[in-house]
């Protein structure tokens, strides 16, 4: 219970602060954000866009961890945990794609321009889609669990190519691309203390939210299975 209250306060604070704190050229008060050249007011979406993209990868990672666990122990509970995580990952992947497209419209002028990171989030969408297609094609539970576990492991080892290698060697619009001259890594660019604080609070808040959703998700799926077995 205490966690839910903490989470509520955290997300509420991040949402309110992220949207309402003013952006000024020279921040003097604790509640003012600095002006980032080329972004202006639309820099605020970073508090929602980056956490969704982060959770897309985290959810996929968790799904792979439980897939490996399934292949080692052959326990169907692990398969359900992996599947729930993949479902949540799909939701966050769609959210990251949409918030990213909206941000791109206002920052770069078009919704979609095949920047390397846009390509990689699209590839993640395809991977999740393929995973669900595979799951729906197999009837037998054990077989379905084993095949989708293998596929999600194989897919996960291609993710470093998308997330870490391609965006850094290819020309692109995101910070950290190969032809980027004014910024270093993704996070450090010209944020000041309070902006970084809210950014990381948002990351933490969304991660707890993911964990909670995942817990409720796999518990409910387990109960559903149990009820199905009782009445059939």
């Amino acid at each position: 219970m205490i966690w839910k209250i903490v989470l509520f306060l955290l997300i509420a604070f991040v949402s309110i602060a992220g949207i309402t704190f003013p952006i000024v050229a020279k921040p003097e008060h604790w509640y003012e954000f600095p002006l980032i050249m080329g972004l202006g007011e639309n820099a605020k979406i970073i508090f929602f866009h980056v956490p969704t993209a982060w959770l897309t990868v985290i959810a996929f990672f968790m799904s792979t961890v439980y897939s490996i666990k399934y292949l080692r122990k052959k326990d169907l509970v692990d398969d359900i945990k992996a599947h729930t995580s993949a479902q949540l990952g799909m939701v966050f992947c769609i959210l990251a794609t949409i918030t990213g497209a909206v941000w791109a419209k206002f920052a770069w002028g078009s919704y979609w321009s095949w920047d390397p990171r846009q390509t990689s989030i699209f590839a993640l969408l395809l991977i999740y889609g393929a995973l669900f297609a595979l799951r729906s094609a197999v009837e037998v539970e054990e077989k379905r669990a084993a095949l989708s576990a293998v596929y999600s492991i194989i897919a996960f080892i291609t993710v470093p190519f998308f997330i870490f290698i391609m965006p850094r060697i290819m020309r692109g619009l995101h910070p950290g691309s190969a032809d980027d001259t004014n910024a270093g890594t993704v996070v450090n660019f010209q944020m000041n203390g309070n902006m970084l604080l809210i950014f990381f609070l948002s990351l933490i808040g969304f991660t707890i939210l993911y964990y909670w959703m995942w817990y409720v998700g796999y518990k409910s799926m387990l109960y559903k299975e149990k009820l199905n077995k009782q009445y059939h």
């Binding site: 292949l71 395809l126 393929a130 094609a137 095949l147 492991i153 291609t158 391609m166």
Partner: protein, 219 residues
């Protein structure tokens, strides 16, 4: 039973029916002619023809390479294979067969393509050759593993490109990029990173395939 014996058995049964070879050749012809029809008398840019080259290869690979495992399921010989050989041997044999098939197919595609498309001119032939070889190896490994998944999931044909595309995407993007570079410059110095990515992809995929194939193969 050795991997080479399995390869010889596959080759013999393939030469008897010529199912995969026929469908591959026809698929290459169909894909290239569809592209030629849609281009018509237009003049396409060099880079576009370089990208379309890999489109032809991807879809041709998707039409024929799943045979390796699907044919065993169809004939009902999977259990026999499970009894007489270890999973590693079976995967090596099937991989060898698919490697030969991919190389033969892609050499045909490359020859046909460069004969039919005026815009497709490679300036740096050795760079293209390195990319071609590393890329073919990657395509063969990934598609063999996905073929084994497909053979176990009862829906045979339709899922294959759906499952393969995301896995092959990093390879394809790098290959398209390298083809552009091979058409553009004659120097090597700017392409080492891309070649390294192809090499990494091949090594990572082959390691993962041999580790994971046991779990697919054993019911």
């Amino acid at each position: 039973m050795s991997a080479y014996a399995l390869f010889k058995k596959d080759l013999a049964s393939e030469l008897r029916t010529r199912y995969a070879i026929n469908s591959l050749v026809m698929f290459i012809v169909v894909t290239i002619s569809v592209i030629l029809f849609s281009i018509g008398n237009e003049k396409i840019s060099d880079f576009l023809s370089g990208g379309l080259f890999w489109v032809v290869i991807f879809f041709s690979a998707m039409s024929g390479l799943s045979r390796a495992f699907v044919s065993e399921e169809e004939r009902g010989t999977t259990l026999t294979l499970q009894l007489i050989a270890s999973p590693t041997t079976i995967f090596s044999g099937k991989l060898l067969f698919n490697l030969i098939l991919v190389f033969a197919m892609n050499i045909v595609v490359a020859l046909l393509y460069s004969a039919l498309f005026d815009a497709f001119v490679i300036k740096n032939l050795s760079l293209f050759l390195y990319a071609f070889i590393l890329g073919n190896v990657g395509i063969a490994i990934a598609s063999t593993l996905i073929a084994s998944i497909i053979a176990k999931a009862s829906s045979k044909g339709t899922l294959y490109p759906v499952l393969s595309f995301p896995i092959l995407l990093p390879l394809m993007l790098t290959l398209i990029d390298l083809t552009k570079q091979a058409m553009d410059t004659t120097t090597f110095s700017s392409s080492y990173v891309e070649l390294a990515i192809l090499g990494c992809y091949d090594v990572v995929m082959i390691a993962a395939s041999f580790m994971l194939f046991d779990f697919i193969w054993k019911d």
